[in-house]
């Protein structure tokens, strides 16, 4: 998703206007203009690429629901299972609607500067013939590009909620999601992925969304958890995951869906997508095993939840590196991220005492930061990465770290604003009795298990 230049209807019109004066011009000139017209002729989407991107897009939807819903749901207590899954489904759905109304315009609109864009609100002017550029001369149908990017906004909004489950009002999650997408997600997506965006211009490497999705969601989750406060009884009462079976099922669906997320970010079915695909296998495998190894090294048993957590850490870390690393660089990245996330979740979090209920920050935020900075290392051809011979690791690392730092600041500030708006409108948190009874019954009037 590096560069997005639209070559749709606007270019066709331009070419026709250029051609008009040529009719009266000398033959030689006319010939030159005709050549230009031929070059500017609208590219037609390759059905193979379109088909691949449609598949990739629905795979990302699979990551959200049921993937993330089951992964997160299984980690909560049984009285909050439906609440957790419903918040994910509803936040993602809200993101989809907002995306087609103004999100796409704010992130990828035709007008704009390095921080935001505008235009194409309510998808104005987009037709089945509209196209969006890939990273080569190919194009894909713009509706597919819009849908693909839509799922990214949806999953990022859903990921944030992992830290605030079991105590935040459903209405508050909806208000928060709306404001947060508007002031945090859309601008960051623009800055990293749109050709005019400030981090894009700087040359920050983020293949599939390490900064936009994972650091952004992770840091936002941390700030939201601080503002919302701890769950009643945390950390003295046991709050064990109610179904690691469902968490394992969710982990598998996330892993499968992640191929759409990472390989699809190549925007066409080419070698870059193939590289992203194999990296999504091997970095993840390394992540799963290294978390279990770390548990063993710390004197515990290698656990199912450890495996699942490591798988997610590996997936998160390889996201920015998917098409920016060789397979062995990806293995290194997955393993390192997994070990660092383990210590963050098992040691640093208890020491700091915040209640990031499902470790959205500990895994997505920390894994995302390791991945984004690590991408500046594994991109190097010396490590089998696709960087050129002139690749300067030091300069790239500075770029990566600045993009990470700026994302952290924007996410943190924007999340604080969004949380206080949600608090003013909805009260933010359920009362104590509702929390004890569980959000399934108190917020939705249902129970997951009868």
């Amino acid at each position: 998703m590096k560069s997005i230049l639209f070559k749709g209807a606007a270019l066709v019109t331009g070419a026709v206007l250029l051609a008009a004066p040529a009719l009266a011009a000398p033959v030689a000139e006319a010939a030159a203009v005709v050549t230009e017209v031929v070059e500017a002729a609208p590219a037609v989407p390759n059905p193979g690429n379109n088909g691949f991107m449609m598949t990739a897009t629905v795979l990302v939807l699979l990551m959200i629901i049921p993937g993330l819903a089951l992964f997160y749901g299984g980690l909560t207590r049984s009285k909050n299972m439906l609440s957790t899954m419903t918040q994910i489904g509803a936040a993602a759905s809200l993101a989809m609607l907002v995306w087609v109304m103004y999100g796409y315009g704010l992130a990828f609109g035709p007008e704009g500067n390095e921080f935001i864009s505008w235009g194409k609100f309510f998808l104005a002017g987009v037709t089945p013939d509209s196209t969006a550029a890939t990273f080569t001369d190919e194009v894909i149908s713009e509706y597919i590009f819009i849908s693909f990017q839509m799922t990214f906004a949806a999953i990022t909004a859903a990921l944030v909620l992992g830290s605030v489950v079991e105590r935040m009002k459903f209405s508050a999650t909806m208000v928060f999601t709306l404001v947060w997408l508007t002031i945090v997600y859309f601008p960051i997506a623009h800055m990293v992925w749109e050709a005019r965006g400030v981090f894009f211009v700087m040359g920050a490497l983020d293949f599939a969304g390490g900064t936009v999705v994972h650091i952004n969601a992770g840091v936002s989750a941390l700030v939201a958890a601080y503002i919302l406060g701890k769950r009643k009884g945390y950390p003295t009462e046991p709050m064990m995951p109610h179904s690691l079976t469902l968490t394992m099922v969710g982990t598998g669906l996330l892993w499968v869906g992640w191929f759409g997320f990472n390989a699809g970010s190549a925007l066409e079915a080419n070698g870059s997508a193939a590289l992203a695909m194999i990296n999504t296998f091997v970095a993840t495998a390394a992540g799963g095993l290294f978390w279990m190894l770390t548990e063993r090294a710390m004197g515990h048993k290698g656990s199912a939840l450890g495996f699942c957590s490591g798988v997610i850490a590996g997936l998160v870390a390889v996201t920015p590196a998917a098409g920016n690393s060789g397979p062995f660089g990806a293995i290194l990245l997955g393993a390192v991220a997994s070990v660092i996330c383990y210590f963050f979740v098992a040691k640093v979090k208890p020491a700091l005492g915040y209640d990031d209920a499902l470790d959205a920050f500990g895994i997505h935020g920390v894994g995302g930061i390791v991945g984004a900075i690590g991408t500046g290392i594994v991109f190097s051809p010396a490590l089998g990465g696709p960087g050129g011979d002139d690749f300067a690791m030091g300069a790239q690392l500075v770029t990566q770290i600045s993009a990470v730092a700026a994302t952290i600041v924007i996410s943190a500030v924007g999340t604080a604003i969004a949380m206080y708006i949600a608090k003013a409108i909805t009260g933010l948190r359920v009362d104590e009795e509702s929390e004890v009874n569980g959000l399934d019954i108190s917020e939705h009037g249902e129970r997951a298990y009868n």
């Binding site: 950390p235 046991p238 709050m239 064990m240 995951p241 515990h300 048993k301 656990s303 939840l305 450890g306 957590s309 383990y342 979740v345 098992a346 040691k347 208890p350 470790d359």
Partner: protein
């Protein structure tokens, strides 16, 4: 008549049931229970968060037996459920005042 209550390790259930069937015990009630004795609890760890559970799962058997075989039932359970480790469980014997078979209305030892 005696009423025998035995708390045993869950994995020993099949062996005990087989041994009791072999000596002619025609029925028993099995209940999954939790409790603690000298064995205390166990530790569970989720992403580094340690929870000590002070209750362990056990299986409770309830058997009604005639006075003649009660001692043999106790001995059979004691020998079959024994692993030599703490947490093997306990056996309690109570006097049983009466027994009635619901289908026929028979009472006393014929109802066992």
């Amino acid at each position: 008549m005696k009423f025998i209550i035995a708390i045993i390790k869950p994995f020993k259930l099949d062996e005990v049931r087989q041994a009791l069937s072999n000596m002619g015990i025609a029925g028993m009630t099995v209940i999954e229970v939790k409790g603690f004795g000298r064995q205390k609890g166990q530790t569970e760890i989720y992403r580094g968060a340690e929870y000590s559970t002070n209750m362990l799962p056990k299986v409770k058997l309830e058997i009604a037996a005639s006075d003649e075989i009660a001692a043999q039932v106790v001995e059979t359970i004691q020998q079959t459920a024994n692993t030599g480790a703490i947490g093997d469980g306990k056996i309690f014997v109570l006097d049983l005042a009466s027994a009635t078979r619901i289908r026929t209305g028979e009472s006393g030892e014929t109802a066992l």
